[in-house]
Amino acid sequence: MKSDSSKNKITEILISAPTLSWLTVFFLIPTIMAIIMALRPSNPYGDLLPGWTLENFKTIFSPIYISVVWRTIWVSILSTIICLLFSVPVGYYMARLSEKFRKIILFLVIVPFWTNFLIRIFAWKLILNPDGLIHKTFVFLGIIPSGGSLIYNTGTVILVIIYTYLPFAILPIFAAAERFDFKLLEAARDLGATRWLAFLHIFIPNISKGLMAAAAMVLIPCLGSYVIPDLVGGTNSQMVGNLIANQAFVARNIPMAAAWSTLLMAMILLPLGLILCVKILLDKNKD
């Protein structure tokens, strides 16, 4: 019996080994290396110097850069909230459709989800172009001055972030809404609840897991945004991702790029830990 279980253990280790070693070499070690590299000193030319330092983190928290960190946080939170506000009605609507229409709408939501995101960002540059209809209408209505621009500002960055990540929010909410028993809403209505009250107190708590997944699916990539501010943002809409790329490609200062990466990791782990805590609490309440 014992030899059988130890033989089992060997087979287990043998078939786990390929992925475990691949992810250790190409994911765990590089991540740890980035954190260690953030503690290495460098001169202004980006050359590595011997020894250890916290100087890189002091630079991050200097007044010039801290505004970028704040912008990254508020842009991501605002975009996530707007995405959720749109996804809940869409998920609700899709879940109540007949099988056939549901499949069609689902298909229409999935296509942008799979479409190359560079192209989807670039399309907005076309739409908001100063020659475009939207720009001309806005100038005509006096919303923007004739010399003004609809692109290269933080508002456009938020718009394009929402456009890019909205499908990521809709899919988990739809999946949760699909499992929801809509008879519960009718029961609540029969018992005298208003439609809004029933929606808020019955539907929302029942899809909370989907909401949480959707929030994580949008918030995390948002915090790591780089291409969107790079293509449609201006100098005043840079995010942490741009600073990482800048340090890596322009300044060629690898320790600084690593320090920014480490900060971004912390920014992601914090809300993720929070979401996990809420999830554990919710699960406990259910038991």
Binding site: W22, F26, V90, Y93, R195, V227, A245, I254, S261, I268
Partner: protein, 258 residues
């Protein structure tokens, strides 16, 4: 009584309009005879001709395909193995294995790109197709594992016990039972991996070297510095390819349910 919420219906159609408006504008503009901007200046096929006459597009597409196919195959094997042992052995090692894959799934592209760049530089590996391949397999593994794991949820393991009792060896069990039953999941995971690999820009941008430019990296450089009109024409092709790919994947997951 089927549904009463008009509000949710309007929001849904608004969202779909929002999703497709940029694609429609881009498609129309790909036939627009105006070099800059989007004012209509007459019909042209010039940008499509430019596209086919640009050898760099074909070259970078070939790079993308080479990496897409190889990363897909390797991640299909690794991901299926991972899903199988996570599901079959519920030990502490597998808990770690599962968490490693989940965390990897949650890491933003830019962090993966940055840490891989750092890693490749420090082990003195020359940046090129090989480093892109390593990076792509790394992020594809997690997706394949998730898709195959979902498929394993309704996999009846007593079949394996039965086969073992009847004297089947592991190679026979794998070939005759596990692979046929899991193949829709493995293929769906592979398709996802292929799409992710072909589409990836951020991670590739960090680990690419001279001569190994992929199509998205080239498209990005055209958007920033080159000719945006050709980008429109390429985009239309990518839209069509995506539509077809999603259609087939949907078909695949449909038969899975039956």
């Amino acid at each position: 009584m089927k549904y009463k919420s008009r509000f949710s219906k309007y929001v849904t159609w608004l969202v779909l309009f929002f999703f497709y408006l940029p694609m429609v504008v881009m498609t129309i503009n790909s036939f627009n005879n105006s070099k800059y901007g989007i004012t209509w200046k007459g019909f042209t096929l010039q940008w499509y001709i430019d596209m086919f006459n640009n050898p760099k597009i074909l070259f970078t597409l070939m790079n993308s395909l080479i990496i897409g196919v190889t990363a897909m195959l390797v991640s299909m094997i690794l991901g299926s193995l991972a899903a199988f042992c996570i599901h079959y052995y519920r030990t502490r090692l597998q808990l770690f294995h599962n968490n490693l894959i989940l965390i990897q799934l949650g890491v933003p592209d830019i962090l993966m790109g940055m840490s891989l760049l750092l890693f490749f530089i420090s082990i003195h590996l020359k940046l090129g197709l090989l480093t892109i391949f390593f990076a792509h397999v790394t992020f594809c593994i997690s997706y394949v594992t998730m898709v195959v794991l979902a498929r394993l949820q309704n996999f009846d393991f007593s079949i394996l016990e039965a086969a073992k009792d009847l004297g089947a060896s592991w190679p026979v069990i794998i070939r005759k039972i596990i692979l046929p039953l899991l193949s829709p999941g493995i293929i769906a995971g592979g398709l996802l991996a292929f799409t992710l690999s072909i589409d990836d820009f951020v991670i590739t941008f960090f680990v690419t070297g001279p001569g190994s430019t992929t199509l998205p990296v080239y498209i990005y450089s055209m958007m920033k510095h080159g000719n945006p009109t050709v980008v429109n024409a390429i985009s239309v092709f990518i839209f069509i390819a995506t539509f077809i790919l999603v259609f087939f994947t949907q078909k695949l997951t449909d038969t899975k349910k039956k």
